[in-house]
Chain length 222, copies 2
DNA sequence: CTGGATCCCTCACGATACTG
DNA sequence: CAGTATCGTGAGGGATCCAG
């Protein structure tokens, strides 16, 4: 009844007692993409001390948010995955990501981008109604990171790694943001070499429409 | 570039850098109900050290989430209010509250209930589609706490304090939860004295329908 | 190599007292 | 009322070590 507890009988306060500790929601962010091993989580969160990761996983497990599971032989490795209750954080984390992204400035020199955070960013910006009936598969190379997005009539399936037969492969080292924000036109982005395409280039505008960044009226200071 | 920062270029990580510190989202919760003075915030968060409250307010102000405003004379007092950007936390806090409330057990002896948390709880459980075209005003006395809710065709206006001419006044010392969860019927709640009504008792079932607690299929451990 | 546990150190937080 | 000042504690940061 000391630290960690707010002493309030309140859903918000209790939620913060469960996932409000440092790193907890970033662990959830990565687990929302899929089950992961301890070391995979470390890779996605390089600055987390291992004891803190260990402690958080125990706490999240005790709270019924994360489940520790030993994979059947011959793998026999340990994976952490979200319970149903933990998975209900999905919409909250996506919204939090959208909210935070609005005041996200330029990428700093020390700031890393991870596979899982990019997948969640794709999911956060996805606009299901942008292209009804549209169906296509994209593969993205963002620096070292390779992820994919399958779109089928307003549904998105985003994940890590390449795809067998992507309709369009988009490669870039530059930030995608200005393109998705409409500051750089698709043709300009391709002609300047900012984006390199493999596959059907006609699918690029749809991609931009589906993941367009809505610049909201209320703009916070960066 | 040390603590407080996660070193990730990611909307979620940045959001947590802005409002992930202890107490920050509870301050936001209370300010979402309305602007408040320093002492009002203290009253709603009795266990927050004043220096921490002070520090949080400064940080939130620097992040463009909270605005410090000096009221015009003769009041000349200082109020803190959310900026437009800060107000966009509304839906996130409500969802977080719903998520946390699912694993909220019985009220502990040390746990307090505050006016603002109850107002947010009302807003979180409000179901706009439960009674189309319905219009009524309720006044609730929950122990010491007095709040009100005006419903008008799927919109809710919840706030602190009494109302001039409420259609129904509901008074209780017991938790409202079992009634809203359907574990206790309205008639039973009234007949047992659990709820005391003043006004039109026929409006009670609508109230329960509007703020019904949806018991979800996935139930976490308390 | 994975999956942690253990160490020490620092700083943010908690508690309390005090001030314009 | 609206905070600032002081001080102790413990969670988190960082590095290292260990078992399967």
């Amino acid at each position: 009844m000391t630290r960690r507890t707010y002493g309030q009988f309140c859903g918000v306060a209790h939620a913060l007692e469960l996932v409000g500790e440092r790193w907890a929601l970033l662990i959830a962010r990565d687990l929302l993409v899929g089950p992961k091993r301890f070391t995979d989580l470390r890779r996605g969160l390089p600055r987390i001390p291992t004891n803190v990761l260990s402690a958080r996983l125990k706490e999240l497990e005790a709270a019924g948010i994360v489940r520790r599971r030993v994979l059947p032989r011959p793998a026999s490795s340990v994976v952490y995955e979200l319970t149903d209750y933990g998975s209900e954080l999905d919409e909250i984390v996506l919204r939090l990501g959208r909210w935070g992204a609005q005041s996200l400035g330029e990428r700093g020199p020390e700031e890393i981008v991870t596979t899982d955070s990019m997948i969640m960013a794709l999911r956060a910006t996805f606009q299901p109604t942008a292209a009804p009936g549209f169906r296509a598969s994209y593969q993205l190379h963002l620096g070292e990171i390779v992820i994919h997005a399958r779109i089928d009539d307003g549904t998105l399936d985003a994940g890590a790694g390449p795809l067998p037969n992507p309709d369009l492969v988009i490669e870039t080292e530059a930030p995608l943001k200005p393109v998705l924000a409409g500051e750089i036109s698709p043709t300009e982005a391709v002609e300047s070499g900012r984006l390199r395409l493999t596959g059907d280039p006609a699918l690029l505008p749809q991609f931009i429409a589906l993941f367009a960044i809505s610049t909201t009226p209320s703009r916070p200071p960066t």
